[in-house]
């Protein structure tokens, strides 16, 4: 772990890799409902692998014991949790991350790393500096568009919207992202149109 990244990294830790493939990995959150937002940029540490959150799931730990509704008599939703403290132990939040690139010898590479992150690698939310540095180039959009997820358009849209906020000139970033999308989806205008409408300010 590098010296600089150690700074504040602890606070940004959101989970831990529990499943890993060449193109994506699954992370489990430390906190129930503590997953990063859809489309958010996250990273692992040593090796530095970046990815975009593609889906978030909250489910029972034991799939044989489905969650039951418990709030019939409760006044508020918070009361349900307070009256059933075991729930936080029986449920878990996970999120799937599509790998968008990695850092190799200090250089950002927006293609798949040679090996996916190891299981039990920690997963961190990226700060503004990391997001804007990583999204200087937008080859990751192609990885996301081809991720195979049924809702990849949504992931791309969410990713662009969030990344824009970390740039000094969000409108320039948006225009650039749209041009990149147009190049990638030049043969499918209908799909391009649907994503463009999702990122339109």
């Amino acid at each position: 772990m590098t010296q600089s990244s150690a700074n504040g990294l602890m606070d940004r830790r959101v989970g831990e890799v529990v499943e890993s493939t060449s193109t994506s990995f699954m992370a489990q959150c430390y906190q129930l409902e503590g997953a990063p937002a859809l489309g958010a940029l996250v990273r692992t540490d040593s090796p530095d692998i970046y990815g975009v959150v593609g889906s978030v799931t909250t489910e029972p730990l034991d799939s044989a014991r489905p969650v039951l509704a418990r709030g019939e008599d409760a006044a508020t939703e918070e009361d349900v949790i307070r009256d059933n403290p075991q729930l936080t132990r029986l449920l878990t939040s996970r999120f799937e991350v599509f790998i968008a690139g990695h850092v190799e010898d200090g250089v950002i590479r927006q293609y798949l790393p040679p090996r996916p992150p190891r299981v039990h690698s920690f997963v961190y939310a990226c700060n503004i500096g990391e997001i804007s540095a990583f999204t200087e180039r937008l080859d990751l959009l192609r990885l996301l568009l081809n991720s195979g997820a049924s809702h990849s358009d949504e992931i791309v849209g969410a990713c662009i919207r969030q990344a824009a906020q970390s740039h000094d000139q969000p409108s320039d970033f948006l225009a650039n992202a749209c041009r990149t999308l147009a190049v990638e989806l030049s043969a499918d205008v209908a799909r391009l149109n649907s994503i463009l409408r999702r990122v339109a300010p």
Binding site: C178, R179, A182, V183, L185, V189, N193, L196, R197, A200
Partner: protein, 554 residues
Amino acid sequence: MTQPFEPNGAGKGRLAAQQGQPLGMVIEGSVANGVEIRLDPDVSVEQIKVGTFVTLQGSNNRFFGVVTDVGLGSTDPRMKYTPLPADDPFVIQALQGIVAFGTVSVLPQLTMPDVMGDDQGPSAAKSIPAHFSRAFTASQEDVETVFGSEEDGNFWIGSPLDMETKLCLDLGELVKRSMGVFGKSGTGKTFLTRLLLAGILQNGEASSLIFDMHSEYGWQGQDTDKGVTVKGLKQLFGAKVSTFTLDEEHSRRRGLSTDETVHLGFNHVEPEDVELLRESLNLSEVAASAAYNLREKFGEDSWLKDFLDAGKNGSLLELAEELQVNAGALRALYNRMQRFTRHGFMVEHSRVDTAAQMIEHLERGQHVVLEFGRYGDDEAAYILVSNLLTRRIHRKYVEAKESAMGGAGKEPRPLVIVIEEAHKFLNSAVASQTIFGIIARELRKYNVTLMVIDQRPSGIDSEVLSQVGTRFSCLLDNERDIDAVLSGTSGSRALRSVLSRLEAKQQALVFGHALPLPVVVRIRDYGPNFYETIQGGGDSEEEKKRKVDELFGG
């Protein structure tokens, strides 16, 4: 946008120092059909006009071409069926230039020399630039390299479309072949002709003989649109121009003095002339050919006079019997010829040989304008007079040239003969007989060329038209006329679209012998500024500045 451009050949080409504005890149093409350019996202398709010049920077060569078509393309063929939010600027902006883009078809015409200013000029393009070659609008320097500059003694006739560059013509080359000025009525044929003639006069390499049907070129002409008079050649060039007139009275009424008045004797009229006038005089074939019989009987010099005398004496019937021609036809010929010979310029016997006079002037390096005055509207008179005179001049030129070839005497001075309503002389029915048909076909060898001015080029015999080297075409909208003007030109399909989109005034498509490639010209104004350059002896800008400095001690 104007980043220094790295050509394909990794540094082999020159940097884009004097390139014009970048347009896009080559995406497909062929030598036969030209190349297709995809416009850069920041270049609006509306900026590009058909007929503009473009340079293409290949890896080893630079090509010079002309825009023949502008189109819209898309990477996704389904786009036209996809409903898109046309009112959403965000979406449209993202699509524009990448998914939906402009395309330009360019016909590469020339390969530019590797080094500017080299002696070696541009040569015809026999290849096309490779994929991804960059396209630029042609710069002033490019245009000068291709068409020559005024400093090199070329004549400035106007500017290319959307450019302020002076587009020049090599007049020496122009007068070597026949030329044609075409365009429907009111498109500026007369102004263009006047400009070209002024250029030829100023250049001085050739003499010109102008059959001025409507008295527009000699002393002054009319600008009917602006309602002002413009200077004619005599006013601009003074003693270099001699004006002849058929109608002295008309000239006097206009307050002009002409150098010579033309009288034509009956003895100068030949049966061939009658043949030529058949259509205008509404004569039957039999009647026209009776003239040959008459010549046989009465002799070359006096056939017309004797025939008219016979008619007056009432002995036409006997004459018809003697000649074994149809009496009715002979009477018809008599009536028409009698009416015709009543024209003021016809005299029974003229000892003055007008053609010889004209040749004398021409040999002195003067230019001759023959004004028709009120006879200008008389088609038969125009045809007869111009044909008659030209035939005699032609004969003299052939003699002179032949003796020059034999080593005796000097080469005759190149001559340009200007005729209007050319389809009347050069239609397929008479082109083989009129002297103009012969000149158009072969007289180049005898240093005589034609400048034909016409609004119905389709009426001109195709064989003659194919000999017209350089063509200036103002707007034409009749399909057959367009076909005729473009006949025998390579890439005529592409030129067609250019030609039919010319503006109605002051624009002409110029192509053929004197130009390396077809070009749409915005014709320069014929007015005070032009007079100044002509009369001021054509001082260059530096010369003017030098003179001013000299005067005021600058």
